[in-house]
């Protein structure tokens, strides 16, 4: 049980700055997901919290105690690695008991804690096996078990599900969520998978090139993406982005094709400003007036259908509709978004224009 505070933390590898100043205070018991594309610095940040990587600048505090110069073993954290990092020469029981033995916990209590974890994770039958005699999913559970028997102040997960097949991944995701709800231990979870992030997180920190693009609840991040990067990274298929300009009265967005979409709130101060207009594919619906697209490809996913269309000006436009397809490639389709589903971003900085 503890808070984890990350204050203006930086990390450089020689001249390369991998983490460029990140600030976040994680509440006691909160599940924070670090989300971002490969190479954006998620693991580096997590490893700095764990003590496996030195901190170039800033401060990290766990449970109110600054840990910058503490060894991993003194930080009271447990970590689940992407490749599980089990001890190959030890049984499942010994893998889980290792950290407890080192901490001098009495044998009977070690037994009790491991048995309890094994029961929660349904590993009871495998306690005498070696990791090499387990399936990928079972190894993953042992890695989880090794973390929970420690009863640490915080859990750190580095892409713990990415070595599993799709079905097992979904299953373990649900299990991790259930486990964390039940244990209520502060968790930092690294992933590049937006579905994992949306389903697991209390809050998501979206990272890009070593900076935090946005910190917010899954719904905030989805509904009000703070930047074009976040808008494109979250949501599937990704958000449509069109070039546009606010008209001279500040009441509508003008698109190169000649359409004009009225803004929910007028922006007289920004009249004439070039912008990027974002519309999620799932917010476009067939209408009498709006964007006229030529359908290039139709993907029927069963529950819904993705239409790949092209505007007269040549820009691509994706539309996601519920149900089975009602059009074919070559068709013309008129679609339009509700006024409150428009996202405006600065054309230069890519930051969201609030309001």
């Amino acid at each position: 049980m503890a808070t984890v505070e990350i204050r203006n933390v930086r990390k450089s590898y020689g001249p390369v700055e991998a983490i460029k100043g990140i600030d976040i205070a994680i509440q006691d018991g909160e599940f924070l997901v670090l989300l971002g594309p490969s190479g954006c610095g998620k693991s580096t940040l997590l490893r700095m919290v764990a003590g496996l990587e030195g901190i170039t600048g800033g401060e990290i505090a766990i449970g109110g105690r600054v840990v910058n110069h503490l060894d991993p073993k003194d930080r009271d954290i447990a970590m689940v690695f992407q490749n599980y990092a089990l001890y190959p020469h030890m049984t499942v029981f010994d893998n889980m008991a290792y950290g407890l033995k080192i901490r001098g916990i009495p044998k009977a209590e070690i037994r009790a804690r491991v048995d309890r974890a094994a029961e929660i994770l349904e590993l009871g039958r495998f306690l005498d096996r070696r990791p090499s005699q387990l399936s990928g999913g079972q190894r993953q559970r042992v890695a989880m078990g090794r973390a929970i028997v420690r009863e640490p102040a915080a859990f750190l997960f580095d892409e713990p599900l990415s070595n599993l097949d799709a079905k097992l991944r979904t299953q373990m995701r649900v299990e991790i969520k259930r486990l964390q709800d039940r244990l209520g231990i502060t968790s930092l979870y690294v992933t590049h998978d937006q579905v994992e992030a949306m389903t697991l997180a209390d809050r998501i920190l979206v990272m890009n090139h070593g900076v935090a693009e946005q910190i917010g609840t899954p719904l905030e991040v989805y509904q009000r993406p703070a930047s074009l990067f976040v808008a494109g990274f979250i949501g599937s298929p990704p958000m449509n982005v069109l070039d546009g300009r606010i008209d001279d009265r500040g009441g509508a967005v003008l698109l190169p094709g000649g359409q004009s979409l009225p803004l929910p709130q007028p922006r007289p101060t920004e009249a004439g400003r070039p912008v990027k207009l974002g519309i999620r594919p799932e917010h476009l619906a067939v209408a009498d007036a709006g964007f006229v697209i030529e359908v290039e490809l139709v993907e029927a996913l069963g529950a819904d259908t993705v239409v790949y269309g092209r505007l007269p000006g040549g820009e691509a436009l994706l539309v996601r509709m519920a149900g089975l397809p009602s059009c074919r490639s070559g068709d013309r389709l008129t679609v339009s978004p509700p006024a409150d589903a428009l996202h405006l971003f600065d054309a230069v900085t890519g930051r969201r224009l609030e309001g």
Binding site: K73, M79, F81, N83, A85, P88, H89, Y98, I102, R103
Partner: protein
């Protein structure tokens, strides 16, 4: 990467050769073996031809001398090598009841155990250092591998230049400090010196294997252990060392065999088994009795005993490597 790609290309080129150009062809699936797609030989003689050099080498350099040793070990030859007489196991009983031979056996055991422990201990220590993030690790690794490329006699001359009490730098320093250093007179000192020289040679070999073994341990496993609370020493003994056990066991046998059989050159160049018989090991005695003292029967009996020892060591190695030491 590049090597693999090249190899792959070459192999593919070979397989894609038109059938008449290649002595190999793919067997067509037949009624009996519908799925058989092995490579078979058109030419019945070719496989034997390909094997011949290997078989010849084994015959000429191993089976032939071994057979000769066994034959001679049950014969007694006169001093001129003209007549020989079949004597059953007399040579063996003679050798094994000779108190000198038992002394030599003792020296050999002390020597071999010391060389093995020293060579492995030092190599492991150096490998652990090289595996950690130290500056100049590359240069250091290269330097450590060099001694292996040195002929034993050359290495021994180097050691002599260091330890000779009259001309050796270290030997003279010891004497200057008032220590009575002279391995030519003191048997204990001579033994220590040949042990050091023989170990030094083997350290590089062990080092390469230990380093490879260490680098095969995933970094995250060590990180998990440090998060679990293990300090460097405990990590070494509970994670690194057990995970190295296949390597350790392999090297244990290799080093024993080395100490028993391949240190002749070192001993010959440094002490010739002396002073007295202080540094005479079994292999050195085989040479001494056979070549110097011309006792072919006794020397052959000793060779056969050594052969049995090396066969036993190898058998133990194979059994263990196949079973026990595997964890993954």
């Amino acid at each position: 990467m590049r090597g693999v790609a090249l190899l792959d290309k070459r192999r593919r080129g070979f397989l894609f050769n038109p059938p008449h150009a290649s002595p190999l062809r793919h067997a067509q699936p037949t009624k009996d073996h519908p799925l058989q797609r092995r490579v078979t030989f058109d030419n019945r003689l070719l496989p034997y031809l390909l094997l011949a050099p290997q078989v010849a080498v084994t015959l000429v350099f191993f089976i032939w001398p071994a057979a000769q040793a066994i034959w001679q070990s049950v014969h007694l030859q006169d001093a001129f090598g003209i007549r020989s007489e079949f004597v059953w196991f007399e040579n063996f009983t003679h050798v094994l009841s000779d108190p000198n031979y038992l002394d030599t056996l003792k020296v050999t055991i002390v020597f071999s155990v010391a060389v093995t422990v020293l060579a492995m201990g030092v190599a492991l220590l150096l490998a652990v250092l090289a595996d950690s993030k130290i500056k100049g690790a590359r240069a250091y690794k290269t330097l450590l591998i060099w001694p292996y490329a040195l002929a034993p006699a050359v290495a021994a001359v180097l050691w002599m230049f260091i330890f000779n009490p009259d001309i050796g730098s270290f030997g003279r320093a010891l004497r200057a400090l008032g220590y009575d250093w002279d391995y030519r007179l003191n048997g204990g000192q001579a033994l220590v010196m040949v042990i050091m020289a023989a170990s030094w040679k083997q350290v590089s070999y062990n080092f390469i294997f230990f380093l490879a073994g260490l680098q095969a341990i995933p970094r995250s496993v060590m990180e998990a252990a440090s998060i679990d609370g293990a300090g460097p020493v405990r990590r070494f003994w509970t994670i690194t060392f057990p995970l190295l056990s296949p390597t350790t066991f392999f090297l244990l046998v290799v080093d024993m065999v080395y100490a028993f059989f391949e240190t002749f050159g070192t001993i010959h160049a440094l002490t010739q088994g002396g002073p007295g018989k202080a540094t005479e090991t079994l292999i050195f005695r085989v040479y001494q009795d056979g070549v110097v003292n011309n006792d072919l029967g006794g020397s052959s009996a000793q060779s056969v005993i050594l052969m049995v020892i090396v066969i036993a060591l190898t058998a133990v190695q194979f059994r263990f490597v196949e079973r026990k030491v595997h964890y993954a």
